[in-house]
């Protein structure tokens, strides 16, 4: 039995302790955003945020989520009421097939929470573990930039110029 705080709500699961978090999120909790891409920690499609850090859920046993804050893309907003990062991805039309996007967004979310003034170079460097096969990279970068600018309190945004 593992108990975690998933997108702000205390949730418990029976899944065996070694089950990768990805399958718990998808099957037990019926969430869609975290995706299976490789199961090897090579592509980033499964990325979620645990206590502020982006992690690959495909190789993170659920036992490690015990009593931790787990945030998935579902925790950032809904299609009807998208959060700022989601808004930015919609505005930038930053998806082709979109399969890689939730993982990218979760790493960006962790980065911007840690460093709201992240530079373009820092954003690129941070995304290195993530693969996109459709070639949506330019739009992904643009969307994260948009989100960062939108999320920053106005004063810092201006000071950053």
């Amino acid at each position: 039995m593992t108990s975690m705080i998933l997108n702000g709500e205390r949730r418990a699961v029976r899944a065996a302790a070694e089950t990768p978090l990805l399958y718990v999120l998808r099957e037990e909790f019926g969430l869609n955003a975290a995706k299976f891409g490789c199961g090897l920690g090579q592509c980033g499609a499964c990325t979620v945020v645990i206590d502020g850090e982006a992690v690959f859920s495909c190789i993170t046993p659920v036992m490690l989520a015990e009593n931790r804050q787990v945030t998935t893309l579902e925790g950032l907003g809904t299609a009807e009421a998208p959060g700022p990062l989601q808004r930015a991805f919609i505005d930038a039309q930053a998806a082709q097939c979109g399969y890689c996007i939730p993982g990218m967004m979760m790493r960006a979310h962790a980065l911007l929470a840690r460093d709201p003034d992240a530079s373009d170079a820092a954003i690129r460097a941070e995304l290195e573990p993530h693969l996109c096969r459709c070639g949506t990279h330019m739009r992904i970068l643009r969307a994260i930039r948009l989100a960062a600018d939108a999320m920053r309190p106005r004063s810092t945004a201006e000071a950053g110029r």
């Binding site: 399958y23 090897l40 989601q86 082709q96 399969y99 070639g135």
Partner: protein, 737 residues
Amino acid sequence: MTLSRRAVLAGTGALVLAFSLLPARAQTETGKGEGPRRRGLPGSLDDTPRLDAWIRVAPDGAVTVLTGKAELGQGLKTALLQIAAEELKLPLARLSLVTADTGRTADEGYTAASHSVQDSGTAIRHAAAQVRALLIGEAARRLDVPAERLRVRDGAVLGPGGARIGYGDLVSDALLTAEAQPTSPLTPAAEFAVIGRPVPRIDIPAKVTGGTAYLQDLRPPGLLHARVVRPPSYGAVLTQVDAAAVERLPGVIAVVRDGTFLGVVAEGEWTAIQAMRRLAASARWRETAILPDAADLPDALRALPSRDSTILERGAPGAAGTIVEGTFTRPYLAHGSIGPSCAIAEWTDGGATVWTHSQGVFPLRRALAGLLHLPEDKVRCIHAEGAGCYGQNGADDVAADAALLARAVPGRPVRVQWMREQEHAWEPFGPGMVASVRAAVTPDGRVADWTHEVWSQSHMMRPGPPGALLAAREIAEPFPPAPPVALAQPEGGGDRNAIPLYAFPTAKIVHHFLPDMPLRGSSMRSLGGYLNVLAIESTVDDLARAAGWDPVAFRLRHLTDARASAVVEAAAQRFGWGRGAPRAGRGFAFARYKNLEAYCAVAVEITVDRETGQVGIERVVAAVDTGEVVNPDGVANQIEGGLLQATSWTLFERVAFDRTRVASVDWSAYPILRFSAVPRSVEVHIVAQPDQPFLGVAEAAQGPAGAALANAIRDATGRRLRDLPLTAGKIKAALGA
């Protein structure tokens, strides 16, 4: 040796002698449109003329648009709805769309070859316009006013004196069962309110919020999870496995073995994966070393038996001039979908329903019916979106896996997803190819002679035939491998885009079609077009250099197609070609995809780290003419994607194999573009051509993008590299110390 390879590829020993004896079938890449048009109707209406196959209006006014094409991440749904909304004069949000489903939609073959807007979009546009006319006609009849005095707005027909009848009230059972007419009252481009606008894609909100967006996200009640154990190499035969031990594991429902086909069905996904691992660990295989030597792949390809055809012969070859010649090679390339292939199948009432991200639900149905020994109407294939596929990946194969496994547990839907290693090892690769070009340029800068030969296996091994499916070759009573298909010109397969668009006075183009398949291969974006354009555009660059001409000016003087010239000029001008000093290298390239679809020109500026050979892409500027544009932002998105994907192919990618096994079975061994190599800036400019027909755009950028990069590397290093990928190591070697 050759014989045994064929035999082994077929799955079992003696079976496949017939393989290369079957005649190649000329066929188009969409599986449609061969031969003359039957009815002379526009787009796919020609195959499926009934209007209600495309547009349905419910009595409550709800409008459904149906297409036999599938969303592959290219924004097709949005584009088709824009078209329908335009002609039906309805807000986009009031329309719903049904995509490829053998139970509901028209058979439009494969969603491939950048044909979707052309085939389906054209059909929907005409059908929608004709439906509008029928509704107006019906209103005219009811209101007893001439149709000319009626207008439509917002899903209703408006008449004089405030008369207003909603579409739902007008529609009757028989009204839309009519067949389409050859001509339609299309909305003129000048009046477009929806077409040509950057309408936000309707699929994106769900994708960025964790909605149900993919086949992978479907969870029908009672869903079971399954995994297959694929053999370790082509043609390997399963000799032994301890199925009983795995069947006893808690949560395991069934182990299915049929010949070499092996899979396991379980209650949960993780349980299925663990059971798969146990099965794999206990499995023993007989393997055969049948692959060519990877280091000599180009020679091995050219040594294979070939069926040769001269696809163009113009003028008398052998004119004098400065000769430029070289042989270009590309290795096998993986589609490399980020989401491994997935399918759900359910067996009920002696038939199967399969949810699939196949590019062709109708041909897949045919193949599955054969595999399962069912009549076609007992199999229904419903498209649901997967990760981007870029051609034929494992989608069809995994659908067969799911169908076979579901048969063991009737009444319960079974979801199968491939593991990463399975996708990388078993998908049908973009074929390895060789293209050899020899050309001459006169001192005054005219191309005097041009010969281009290309060697390639088939780029089109999709189902239809059950033997195109992996599982069908693994089962105890296997189906013969699908006969190799040579796609015909003008679209071509391995010879796609081998005919240059330039007005060279003499030219000879030869296609060496290789019926043998050293590695499993099939369609991958732009087919042979990528290498052929790279070969042509590299050679044109070298000819320009040899004659002392600027490469852009040299291209322009050999182009006679005004739209081609306009695109070349637009890219050069936006890039600032010829202005300022390049950082390390600049490259330019151009092609018209298939010589029939969108025009695309690309200019690139790069830096090269002289110590490592690493390329840094500073700037990419592309110009594209795609005829009438349905969604400009969608076009830009597709072109950007093509540019970046081709960058990855050109700089990094290569399927690795030894004499027995594919070795590049993950992202470690098969590197693709990561953010560190992403260009600093990418610009896409659309050269507008309203009132021209839609042209396919999804694959227009790949050839020019790869070629422009190759030309920039030539510019930076002084050396022409012809063997893909153009890795840092090769560039470093080219630079010398």
